[in-house]
Symmetry: C2
Subunit: 355 residues, 2 copies
């Protein structure tokens, strides 16, 4: 697989299609699974990890899917390529950062990714654009069922699936929805929303998972509890609360637009003007400014640029994506200059074709 060719597309997340795409970026489900015959990765020797990888890689290739999965061995990838896959939400920062035999099998549309020897032997992940947990669940459940026929998972009747970290025991499932909540953040209502989520055992994280900073007003909402409930019950809980958050954000946007229309319009237009003309631009500032432009498009407050371009720019201006697209290794300051240049050029083209 050519990472360079991936760089030119958006992948599944940020495709910007799917239900409620103005607020829900993507829906993701992952399952943690381990082979009964081996110790968890943090206790396994490199030799055992090689065996695990070889075994799982074989079974993964037997999966009966429309398109074959492609397996990438992480140790054969450069640091830049690994970072690229993290930015694309196809592998975790943990898989990118650790040592030893490990890899990821990817589907052609980047909907499905299977990580081998991450925290658990196997991490299955399905991602869908928009609010589509049910569809994601159908796919991942099917893949999981298939693999379960081929290998013996570590499973006990009392708890369910056994995992390296106790917080995943049971279903081994984490279902998450990535939301774009600029209006709730700006009107300082997010804390209230997050506190309410906590009371029903849902947690929130930044764009790149646990410990990552909040960036571009993107937030992932996911379940905290994996034990004592069925997958369908957990999904049901998330699915019932997300529409409420969507509604809050919509209300906040409308209120903001009707009460502070001029301030909002100015903020959106300035964000666009800065993206269009700055000659140095950090990744963080890019996310923040693109976030306002994205909001502006959905509120029909900006016409110079289309949503497709903005969604592409969110991912293509990330450090590794930018370097892959430009075919060069760049240090921080060079990247800031290259990023600004890339934004200027892409936004100018988009403006020319929209006017």
């Amino acid at each position: 697989m050519e990472i360079e060719s991936l760089a030119k597309t958006n992948g599944e997340w940020l495709r910007g299609s799917g239900p409620e795409a103005d607020i829900v970026i993507s829906s993701r489900i992952r399952l943690a699974r381990n082979l009964a015959a081996f110790p968890f990765p943090n206790r396994a020797s490199n030799y055992q990890k090689t065996e695990i990888e070889s075994l799982l890689r074989g079974k993964i290739q037997d999966l009966e899917l429309d398109n074959k999965l492609e397996y990438l061995s992480l140790s054969s990838l450069s640091t830049l390529d690994r970072l690229f896959l993290v930015e694309r939400q196809l592998i975790s920062r943990e898989l990118a950062g650790t040592e030893g035999p490990r890899g990821v099998a990817l589907g052609p549309l980047e909907t499905l990714s299977l990580m081998v020897n991450e925290e658990d032997h196997l991490r299955l992940q399905v991602m869908r654009s928009g609010f589509a947990l049910t569809e994601a669940w159908q796919i991942i459940n099917q893949v999981d069922d298939f693999l379960e026929k081929k290998v013996t998972y570590a499973f006990c009747e009392e708890f369910g699936y056994l995992t390296a970290c106790p917080t995943n025991v049971g279903t081994g499932m984490r279902a998450s929805v990535m939301l774009h909540l600029p209006a709730l953040e700006f009107t300082k209502q997010l804390d209230k929303v997050f506190r309410a989520l906590q009371r029903i055992n849902l947690t929130h994280r930044g764009l790149y998972g646990e410990g990552s900073r909040f960036s571009g007003h993107f937030f992932q909402i996911s379940n905290q509890v994996t034990l004592g409930k069925s997958e369908v019950a957990i999904l049901g809980e998330i699915q019932s609360v997300i529409p409420q958050i969507i509604q809050y954000e919509r209300q906040a946007r409308e209120a903001w637009k009707s009460e502070n229309s001029k301030v909002l319009q100015d903020r959106i237009s300035r964000a666009y003007g800065t993206l269009r003309f700055a000659t140095m631009m950090t990744s963080d500032e890019t996310m923040e400014l693109l976030s306002y432009v994205r909001l502006g498009i959905h509120l029909k407050m900006i016409e110079e640029v289309d949503i497709h371009t903005v969604n592409e720019l969110f991912i293509q201006t990330q450090p590794a994506h930018l370097q892959k697209l430009l075919g060069a290794n760049l240090d921080g300051e060079e990247r800031n200059a290259a990023r600004a240049n890339f934004l200027r050029s892409r936004l100018r083209n988009s403006s020319d074709s929209n006017n």
Copy 2:
């Protein structure tokens, strides 16, 4: 005289021509004169002020100039029109703000303006674009000589011309040069320059004279001493120091450009981007941003806009100018929206014709 027609031009200051126009905006000389037969304006009755105005107005109309001066009675002007003349540097804030019979005679190119019943009975002012104190002096001296033949000025052999405020006694002359010093300000060298000026009895003020805030990195340097020296000696002192300040600013610009080229370029480009797309814009922010764009043009770091447009925008975005140009009375928030709109449209046109 139609104030509306003035609004469409730049007047003499900010014409952007004249010697050293990249740094020296304009040179201005004013002379304070009083009629021996009347008390100073602050002690004169309204009846006496009417007499003074009538007398001086008649003499001013006798001036043998290429073009007749036009006399505007301030009390017949609206607040907006008075503010317009202040923004244009044709009258002082004091003349605009006080009551009673008072006025100004203006030359067609706005080089010459003669204020009647300001702090003194007569204030003569000549303004030239660029560094041109000698030329300004030649004109004002000629006008002053002519008037001195027609009226009896308050003058004593020991001190010279007598004025309402003791700080003007002697020559009654204030010579000032308006400088654009963004690099010295940004590199924090201005204080040093101003302290040095103070030691040789030169003072600095903001764009709109005494007590006005520093805006758009514009500074007026002028003489503090009017007593005990001839006009030519005072002019000589200013004329000898200005080239040094010009040289400091040029050095600061070059150093800034060579050491922090990327930061400077980014700042200039962002300023332009914000001016080009913001939808709300205060007068102060406009000055600050236009200042960076002006610097960018002179450093050949921006191509989207020409210096003529930027110089025009400095004056045309001032509150009264904007309202005169748009033919509407606007409150603060309406003005900020109208100003942003005006900037967007003018800069877009300039960009279209420069590309």
